[in-house]
């Protein structure tokens, strides 16, 4: 019942915010009387971003994660006339994908972070612009950033996810801040990974709690993989401790057989997996989480709340109505990812509302397709659609390294205009192997090469 209640509150909140987003948009566009003063002020002090004059149709890509980096590179490759600007608020890259391997020392920080935005831009002939997006005016095709306005011909927003702590019963801003800082989920900012890495190395025993949220959260197998990586450290250090997986779902959400085998055969007594146990509250001070049936104490934790489309999508007025996304994702075309009614603005990556797995490989393959869509439309051609692919490896053993994997495609139903789920060709490789572990590393290296190298 409490879930229902909070859900309804969210919908209301979403509605209000959406309305605000729309008025914000109007203010930015026209400085209409009656618009909020702050927003009008932002326009009156507007400056142009210090960028070279566009030499062709300007494609602005926001967000230098897997999706944005892929699209910036391949849109330029598929249509060299594009003048591409990649807007990114970070000045240092570190990947979220593969970060679990770092916790068990299987890769070093360089593996995740030794990749330069500058090199990517030089190698692939676009401009990296280090700025934060603050507004959008779709009427005059202006993107507003903290370093000035950028005129665009085509705009791609790939801002990823934000957490939705309300769905695990943490709504008070102070409580959310404390929880995020103390027991981060480890699926958004790189600094969360650094904290979790420290936690794992400092763990001296007891219960390490890893939660799994409901909904279409980022990287379905990751919480289970992380549990395996932490458990491998517990095993290696011969600690009296365990990883408790509190799973909101009734079954392991992907590669279930492979994970169950790993839990039973490699981590008996070290990993405890509890199904259908959604968290409904967290007490950071007491180190306790509540479910419908119990209160559980822990010694340390990585608490993964539900996810939602990036708040930026809502701020810019691009959020889907709740009938099209229960996770505040973008309101976009099912195949071509343009904002409904505007073929100049696209949302890709994990803010999309299609039910794809929110993983790096999905964003990378989707990025190739959307780059082709942009190239086609900029030349007045009909775009073609190819379903994204989700190949995803999970390391389940650290010594020796062994992994399982899944190779998933997606089906589209033209009648309903919906993605109906994983395609029939989807293959799951549940038998863990050392060779698959090598492929796990190469999978990541391949994506780094694809998004940073020429």
């Amino acid at each position: 019942m409490s879930n229902e209640q909070s859900r309804r509150d969210f919908l209301k909140l979403g509605g209000t915010a959406l309305a605000m987003g729309a008025s914000g948009l109007a203010a930015a566009a026209t400085t209409a009387p009656g618009a909020a003063k702050n927003q009008a002020a932002a326009v009156s002090t507007a400056i142009k971003a210090d960028l070279p004059k566009a030499k062709g149709p300007r494609l602005v890509v926001v967000g230098a994660g897997t999706s944005g980096l892929t699209i910036a590179k391949y849109a330029k490759r598929y249509y060299p006339t594009f003048d591409v600007v990649l807007v990114e608020k970070r000045d240092m890259y570190a990947s979220c994908f593969s970060s679990n391997l770092w916790y068990a020392g299987l890769v070093d920080l360089e593996f995740l972070a030794d990749h330069s935005f500058l090199d990517a831009a030089v190698n692939n002939k676009y401009i990296y612009f280090n700025a934060t997006v603050t507004g959008l005016d779709r009427t005059s095709r202006k993107l507003v950033t903290n370093k000035g306005e950028i005129d665009y011909d085509y705009l791609v927003l790939a801002p990823g996810i934000d957490y939705d702590y309300g769905k695990i019963g943490v709504t008070d801003a102070a409580a959310v801040a404390a929880l995020h800082q103390t027991y981060p989920g480890g699926f958004t900012q790189s600094t969360e990974h650094v904290t979790i890495r420290r936690k794992v190395r400092e763990f001296e025993g007891g219960v390490f709690l890893q939660s799994v949220p409901s909904g279409n959260y980022r990287c379905l197998p990751a919480p289970y993989e992380r549990a395996c990586m932490i458990a491998s450290v517990i095993k290696k250090n011969k600690l009296k401790g365990k990883v408790l997986i509190l799973d909101a779902n009734p079954e392991i959400t992907i590669k279930a057989q492979g994970f169950h085998a790993a839990f039973d055969e490699l981590y008996k007594g070290i990993i405890e997996w509890r199904a259908s146990s959604p968290i409904i509250g967290v007490d950071v001070e007491k180190k306790q989480v509540s479910t419908d049936v119990e209160t559980i104490s822990f010694d340390d934790a990585a608490i993964y709340p539900n996810v939602r489309g990036a708040i930026l999508i809502e701020q810019l007025g691009l959020m889907a109505p709740s009938s099209h996304s229960n996770q505040k994702e973008a309101h976009i075309d099912t195949r071509f990812n343009n904002f409904i009614g505007d073929e100049r603005v696209y949302v890709t990556g994990d803010s999309r509302n299609q039910p794809y797995s929110k993983s790096a490989n999905t964003s990378n393959t989707e990025g190739h397709t959307i780059a082709r869509v942009l190239a086609a439309r900029a030349q007045g051609k009909e775009p073609e659609w190819v379903a994204p692919q989700t190949i995803c490896y999970s390391m389940v053993n650290a010594d020796p390294m062994e992994a399982i994997s899944v190779d998933a495609g997606y089906d589209y139903d033209a009648k309903t205009d919906l993605i109906t789920g994983f395609s029939k060709t989807t293959k799951v490789f549940n038998d863990r192997s050392t060779a698959r572990a090598q492929a796990t590393l190469e999978w990541a290296r391949g994506i780094y090469r694809d998004i940073f190298n020429a």
């Binding site: 692919q389 492929a439 391949g446």
Partner: protein, 232 residues
């Protein structure tokens, strides 16, 4: 101008050798000096004695560029014009009396995975694989691309957009020895060098990876070349 010269040389050499290999009108071929494929002891390989279950590996035309040598165990498809990243080129079909020998640069055209000494996630699965679901395919486990070596290594499934790049083979009808004599023109090798430059400088020394392979190339089975070969 260069291109015309290449094609000219190619036509002349193919006519002169008149072997069961690359056809005279090989468009888009980049010439490199012929290199004889030899075993670990330096003895020339014989086309008739090659295994069929997995690929051999040799480096050509530069020291750091790995190539598959594959005995299909059956004639390949006929020569055909294929389209790659750098334009169209003619894939010549299999070399040898049985047209059963093919060679490709062993760098996945998707995200440039390649066999190194430690590991290879790309292999020829002569006996079949879970990923390809049928025998005789080249599979790259990193992201699931499958290529058909009997048909110019065009993509069968997966995310790769281009075929693997063919290497021209010539089989000497007198002694059954095998030589590599050129590759389809491509931009991949330069991107490959850029992507792995730091590793290659460590392994080959500055510039060493770009040096041409001369006279002969050591050719061994993939599982002798890479310590771990991924099975998918």
């Amino acid at each position: 101008m260069d291109r015309r010269q290449f094609v000219g040389i190619c036509a002349a050499s193919a006519a002169a050798l008149s072997t069961h290999s690359w056809h005279a009108l090989a468009a888009g071929v980049q010439e490199f000096p012929a290199v004889k494929l030899v075993d670990a002891q330096g003895v020339p390989l014989k086309a008739a004695t090659l295994a069929t279950h997995q690929a051999y590996l040799f480096n050509y035309p530069f020291r750091a560029v790995p190539c598959f040598l594959i005995n299909l165990g059956k004639p390949s498809a006929k020569a055909q014009l294929l389209s790659g990243e750098s334009g169209s080129y003619e894939w010549p079909g299999g070399a040898g009396a049985q047209h059963n020998l093919v060679s490709y640069i062993a760098i996945c055209t998707h995200q440039m995975s390649y066999p190194n000494k430690a590991t290879s996630v790309i292999r020829y699965a002569g006996d079949g694989s879970e990923l390809a679901e049928k025998p005789g395919m080249i599979v790259c486990c990193a992201h699931g691309s499958v290529f058909d070596p009997a048909a110019g290594a065009v993509k069968v499934s997966g995310p790769a957009e281009q075929p693997l790049i063919p290497v021209r083979l010539e089989v000497d009808p007198l002694d059954d020895s095998i030589s590599a004599t050129g590759v389809a023109a491509n931009e991949l090798i330069e991107r490959f060098f850029q992507a792995y430059k730091v590793d290659f400088i460590a392994e080959y020394g500055p510039g060493g990876y770009r040096q041409p392979v001369e006279a002969s190339a050591r050719t061994v089975l993939l599982d002798q070349f890479s310590k771990t070969v991924t099975n998918c």
